[in-house]
């Protein structure tokens, strides 16, 4: 498959996770996670429900706290230092399964809120940026509506635009399409693909295998809180190594 020139990966490290462990009480959710993501890399994480995929990417912007090991994002180590956390969060965009738009604000206000308050950008400028990204996700005409007035697919695209308005260097997606109807999935995936083509560093938890084949550099399979297998998409899908991966792929691809 031919990838656009911009989809090359640099040597610069964007995220480095070493020996990371996390527990919920007694429950060991993430076990000895080691993962290095280079700038411009696009990683797809898949695995059965409850395997810890969400927990892993939520640790990267500290929505969850890890108890052991080290996470370095953009050269800043995640510790309990609030300054570091806020810095990392403003560099890392995140899209959720249930969009989590702010229902009391218009689409435009959703997009300008963080730039204005966190980045301290003047309102006019923030609105211009917001309109730029809303055009990019193809819904500029909805700018003055409220989230409750949009379809699921449109809401998820707004959520992506909202993250992009912070000009993040890394984007995290947690099953962005799994709450959507089939015809809306495509419009969201198209947005994500165009983002990937521009060279954004992305980590996506998703079960959209077509998307994984098209844009991912690496597919990671997780089970029971561990990384079981990772490989380039072609090799991962055509020639899985572990039994667990084979079983999972056969279920999800419906053979």
């Amino acid at each position: 498959m031919n990838q656009p020139a911009s989809m090359t990966v640099s040597d610069e490290v964007a995220i480095e996770i070493t020996g990371m462990n996390k527990w919920y009480g007694q429950f060991h959710v993430l076990r000895d996670i080691n993962l290095t993501v280079n700038r411009g890399e696009r990683i797809v994480i898949c695995g059965p429900s409850g395997s810890g995929k969400s927990t892993l990417i939520r640790c990267i912007n500290r929505l969850e706290e890890h108890q052991k090991g080290k996470i370095v994002v953009d050269g800043t180590e995640l510790s309990s230092d609030l300054k570091n956390i806020d810095k990392i969060r403003s560099e890392v965009g995140m899209c959720f399964q249930h969009f989590n738009l702010f229902p009391h604000l218009t689409i435009l206000e959703n997009c300008t809120l963080a730039p204005i308050w966190v980045r301290k950008i003047p309102k006019r400028e923030a609105e211009e940026t917001a309109m730029h990204f809303l055009e990019k996700v193809k819904i500029p005409e909805q700018a003055d509506k409220y989230p409750g007035q949009l379809s699921g697919g449109q809401q998820q695209r707004v959520a992506i635009a909202r993250s992009l308005c912070m000009k993040p260097r890394i984007m995290l997606f947690d099953e962005p399409t799994s709450a959507l109807d089939p015809e809306m999935i495509k419009e969201v995936l198209d947005t994500m693909i165009s983002l990937a083509e521009e060279g954004m560093t992305m980590i996506c938890v998703t079960h959209e295998m077509g998307f994984a084949r098209q844009v991912a550099n690496r597919v990671i399979f997780m089970d029971a809180g561990q990384i079981v297998e990772q490989n380039e998409p072609e090799a991962f899908f055509n020639n899985p190594q572990s039994e667990r991966t084979k079983l999972f792929l056969s279920q999800i691809l419906g053979h």
Partner: protein, 431 residues
């Protein structure tokens, strides 16, 4: 299959059917009556019974109202004028309205002051209540507490000006320091305000007579005016305090959390009336000796504590109703805690809490009548004291209580109507 379609299933309409009026009895008043009042036998019976009840009520009330005597010297004069017919004696209200509204001791030639304060209250509350009004009107809202105090209590204008200056100084310091951290700004601001007030105290002492209105002592406040003062002040104070308590109760900081929990649970477990007795008798011990804080201030503190505990619980409900995703989205965008609260969480939680808050506010406003028990002459106090115990009007019940109820009803009903309007305004989840 009907035989119209016997030849084939296909059908094409070639002409449009003309529009026709609905059959008689299906429109207008007849249809409405049938649908709503006489749908079936039990429904018809209920309708008739209700009509009879309404008739009986009105038949009693209307003559009572239309025969009413509006001017008389006392209740005996009233009865003489009525001469055996049934009728109200509203003369008591035309005679004593000033006591009912302003209490027994407020100087009569100064009534323009509470009236002006009342009118200004609406003007200055308007920009808070209606977000469409220009934002710079909020200046009026900021000034009003000091202006209102000056109008009602009188004395030199320097005192409220100093108080206002203290607030402004505190706010300026807050703005300066808050860029460092919220806590530093908050406590720095409060400290600066106190310093400003302390310095201002000397100025006030020196400028006794500058632009002075005739001073009115707190114990001379009374009537419905007192209820309005207590209601307005306590509601507007307990809302921010309630928000802080609710947030404190959610806090990760264990000590703050427990202070809030204990405060809320304690206050909610105690009847308001005991708190008022505490205010009237015990609280004096807590103030520095010799300051002799006046009773209104003590009562305001107690009622505010009481209602802020309730409002805190209402708001906690609103906070709990907010999906976790909202907090996470705010966090993931890099908003810090005060920003996330102010911009994302509170606007939504407060919107959910509006009915509950209004409930507390209306209840609180009516509960201000409890101060009559600690011998303050609010509206109820005036009715039970000076009016019922006077030789002229002892024995007039319905008219006075009806008037008192009407005043409260007007205020409470307006609050409730406003809140319903506000909820409609804030509804953004329409599809």
């Amino acid at each position: 299959m009907s035989d119209t379609h016997a030849h084939s299933a296909a059908f094409v309409r070639t002409e449009t059917l003309p529009e026709m009026p609905p059959p008689p009895g299906e429109t207008g008043i007849v249809k409405w009556l049938r649908a709503n009042l006489f749908a079936n036998v039990p429904n018809a019976i209920l309708t008739l019974v209700s009509l009879w009840a309404i008739y009986a009520l009105l038949a009693g009330f209307i003559p009572w109202f239309t025969n009413a005597v509006w001017s008389a010297e006392d209740i005996r004069d009233c009865q003489a004028q009525l001469d055996g017919t049934r009728g109200a004696c509203f003369a008591v209200i035309s005679e004593r309205w000033h006591q009912l509204l302003f209490g027994i001791a407020y100087p009569q030639d100064q009534y323009w002051r509470p009236i002006l304060a009342f009118i200004l209250l609406f003007l200055s509350a308007a920009p808070l209540l209606f977000s469409k009004l220009p934002r710079n009107l909020l200046v009026l809202t900021l000034i009003y507490p000091f202006l209102g105090y000056w109008l009602l209590w009188g004395g030199t204008i320097v005192a409220p000006l100093v108080a206002l200056a203290g607030v402004l100084v505190g706010f300026a310091v807050y703005q300066r320091l808050v860029t460092g951290s919220f806590a530093m700004g908050f406590f720095g601001g409060i400290a600066a305000a106190f310093v400003a007030w302390w310095i201002g105290g000397f100025i006030t002492g020196a400028a006794e007579g500058v632009l002075a209105l005739e001073p009115v002592a707190s114990r001379d406040m009374g009537g419905f005016m007192l209820n309005m003062i207590l209601g307005t002040v306590c509601v507007s104070l307990s809302l921010p305090i309630g928000i802080m308590l609710a947030l404190g109760r959610q806090s990760d900081m264990i000590i703050i959390k427990w202070i809030c929990v204990v405060f809320i649970e304690f206050i909610r477990g105690v009847p308001l009336i005991t708190l008022l007795f505490v205010a009237s008798v015990v609280l004096a011990y807590f103030f520095p000796p010799g300051t002799n804080q006046d009773l209104i201030l003590r009562v305001i503190i107690m009622i505010t504590m009481f209602s802020s505990a309730y409002i805190a619980e209402v708001i906690r409900g609103g906070l709990a109703a907010l999906p976790r995703g909202q907090y996470e989205a705010a966090d993931s965008l890099g908003l810090d805690y005060p920003q996330a609260m102010r911009l994302i969480v509170l606007p939504q939680a407060l919107k959910i809490s509006i009915p509950g808050i209004v409930n507390v506010a209306v209840g609180l406003f009516k509960d201000t009548t409890l101060v009559s028990v600690i011998s303050m002459f609010d509206l109820v106090g005036v009715v039970r004291g000076p009016i019922f115990s006077s030789t002229e009007w002892a024995g007039v019940y319905w008219e006075v209580w009806g008037f008192a109820a009407l005043l409260f009803f007007i205020v409470c009903y307006s609050i409730s109507q406003y809140s319903q309007w506000l909820e409609r305004q804030l509804a953004t989840d329409h599809r």
